[in-house]
Point group: C2
Chain length 405, copies 2
């Protein structure tokens, strides 16, 4: 077992039940021994499902299958079946066969059309998925379904995550309580070939699929698409959001429901960074004053992905010269003389040079913190972006280089 | 002193003199003690100069000055003055003043117009350049100029390079011998704030400036723009090419001269990778079968910059799943079922899955080599690209994180 991340939360949160969804887990022996590795979530009829997926051109068979199914509406319930240990990615036509067999078996046991069965797989790339071990566990899984079973579900989807990830928010809509509850796995590209972020969010709200998808896509761009551990992108990233329709209806954007969903997604995305491989610091990169938002994002991404910035943070080195470098290479419009840099509230550089009041010991003291904010203002316009990342440490190399497959 | 790179050449090559150019070095104490840190190269009247520079938006004062001067033709000679220890980058208006004072002093001692004095600085970012120490050394430098002084020049421009870098080629044109001789410094972003690749190439050929610049720009795209150590870009990268006009004339593209120049640039660029921070493997990434050359470059760059691919190589792990991942995230058109991957001549994957003849021990044996070739064929078109990189090791983190500025 990897060491618990120093950035892990104190404990798994108490997650409320979401009316209309039940969970079960099993130890099917896909790859791991002596732990659960399959989870089934079953949603009642009337559920709408939205999803966002990796943009990888080599995405896995289950991702392609989910993408094909996600647009379909229907009154039937929905099932989500996830295994850990094997990603079923780059497994040729055999991979598609595995997805079909699993979906067919889940559909049969749950009494659903196959089009309402969504699957995810996470783990080794390029090895045949032993789907028979998963389908053999389905009857037991179906019998064990439990509305209180979300924490075991969060544990079953882990690969080399050092902690399970969950979050919940509750809002009141038209006098009715609405829950938004999510679980996630991922910590960059955790261990060799074990590379995925998976997120499942459930709500009892009633929401039409097009609105649900629109909200999810927009909020993904402001949460999960704003985090980076190593800049590498999984072939299997999947985020599914299911609304069971048991509570109040949400009919428009900008509602308290959307705020709650945003909070759950932001919290889960930060938990993924906090479990980043070898991470010892949680870093927010906040860019303002860019020519436009796209430029701000280029700068934030360049800083958050720079190995030199990330190793400096690991070394608690207030190395603002590397931030200047990362701004410069980003491709965004930038001007030395209008650029300013702050570490938290400490102004480090402005007017094209180090700030007159800045002293190295101030920056060095700030860098000893576990939660850091790097602020860059380009002084050009009103574009803004925020990204979250972690430092790049010896442990990252240890995890990714010293392991032999 | 850092440990000599295991990928270093056995010794510095014997470099021939280039008629019309002389070198001198000095220990001016810009930052380092007990070593040379300034070099002056002086070219005779009739010299044409071409240059390529970092694309960084936060490029340094000397880079901006060179860019402004590089287009100017003239019958006067040309001087190149380089210091190590301080990059004069992000030093505000003061940085521009330093460049002006150095250029004026060189112009005076060498009897040149200021427009023919090119300067480079490499070292710490954000500290005022003590230009008075450099200008104080100029009279001695000018008196010491020596046509045989190129090896000391290669040493004076080093920062934390572990070896000096030089290369030469000779071709015959119209019965006359033509020399192309270059020196370089750089090893990624060597040590904190010491981030630069500097390259100076001299030839006695006679070449009009527009042709010289055209050749240099094209060849830079196939050599120095195809190498990566950590994907970070210096604020000071500079490549200057001076043709003294003492030997035969080159009047068109595609000549033996251009081949020789290409070889010198390729060799020097590979030496920079071989001195990459913490490097233990030299890796060629060769992409074929892309939809077009731009797509091939995207894929090659994605593989060559992927921390997961580079840590796998460090661990001698034939982790082809990470190459699939890097292809997928590149943004280039790719198709799982037409993609093939080889390690050297060993076919690893094809038809969307692992190759039937591939065995893990073959790949593991190949990965033990010091010189590796990763070949990816996308099976879509005729686009090709080649990039060169090194592995990502504990030593990289050591150099960049454990150092405190």
């Amino acid at each position: 077992m990897p060491t618990l991340s120093p950035l892990a939360p104190a404990r798994f949160p108490d997650l409320p039940q979401v009316d209309g969804v039940r969970f079960a887990t099993a130890a099917a022996g896909v790859r791991y021994k002596n732990r659960t590795d399959v989870m089934l979530a079953l949603c009642d009829p009337g559920t709408t499902v939205a999803g966002t997926f990796t943009r990888s051109a080599t995405r896995s068979a289950p991702v392609r299958d989910c993408e094909a199914k996600i647009g379909g509406d229907g009154d039937a319930g929905a099932a989500i079946l996830v295994n850990s240990g094997n990603s079923n990615a780059f497994t040729g036509k055999a991979g598609e066969g595995s997805v079909e067999r699993i979906a067919a078996a889940v559909a049969e046991v749950a009494g659903l059309p196959e089009a309402r069965v969504f699957t995810s797989s996470t783990g080794v790339i390029g090895e045949r998925l032993p789907d028979d071990r998963i389908t053999a566990a389905l009857t037991d899984l179906h019998e064990a379904l439990d509305p209180a079973g979300i924490e075991p579900a969060a544990r079953a989807i882990m690969t080399t995550d050092t902690f399970p990830k969950g979050c919940a928010r509750r809002v009141e809509i038209d006098g009715q309580a609405v829950n938004v509850v999510g679980i996630a796995k991922g910590s960059g590209m955790i261990a060799p070939d074990m590379a995925t972020m998976l997120v499942y969010i459930f709500t009892d709200a009633t929401i039409a699929r097009p609105l649900l998808q629109e909200m999810l896509s927009d909020l993904t761009d402001r949460t999960f698409n704003c985090i980076t551990v190593d800049g590498d992108t999984s072939t299997s990233d999947t985020l599914l959001l299911a609304a069971t329709g048991k509570s109040a209806e949400v009919t428009s954007r900008g509602s308290p429901f959307e705020d709650a969903l945003h909070e759950v997604m932001l919290d889960l995305s930060h938990q993924v960074v906090r479990d980043g491989e070898g991470a010892t610091k949680f870093v927010e990169v906040s860019v303002t004053g860019a020519a436009d938002d796209a430029d701000a994002r280029k700068v934030a991404s360049s800083i958050a992905n720079s190995p030199l910035v990330k190793t400096a943070i690991a070394g608690e080195d207030p190395n603002w010269g590397r931030i200047v470098m990362a701004v410069g290479k980003s491709g965004a419009k930038a001007d030395r003389d209008t650029l300013s840099i702050r570490f938290g509230d400490i102004e480090v550089a402005r007017d094209g040079w180090v700030s007159p009041d800045y002293a190295e010991d101030k920056g060095a003291a700030y860098m000893k913190g576990q939660e850091l904010v790097i602020r860059v203002d380009l002084g050009l316009g009103s574009g803004t972006a925020t990204m979250w990342t972690c430092d790049l440490t010896h442990a990252y190399i240890q995890i990714n280089a010293d392991y032999r497959s």
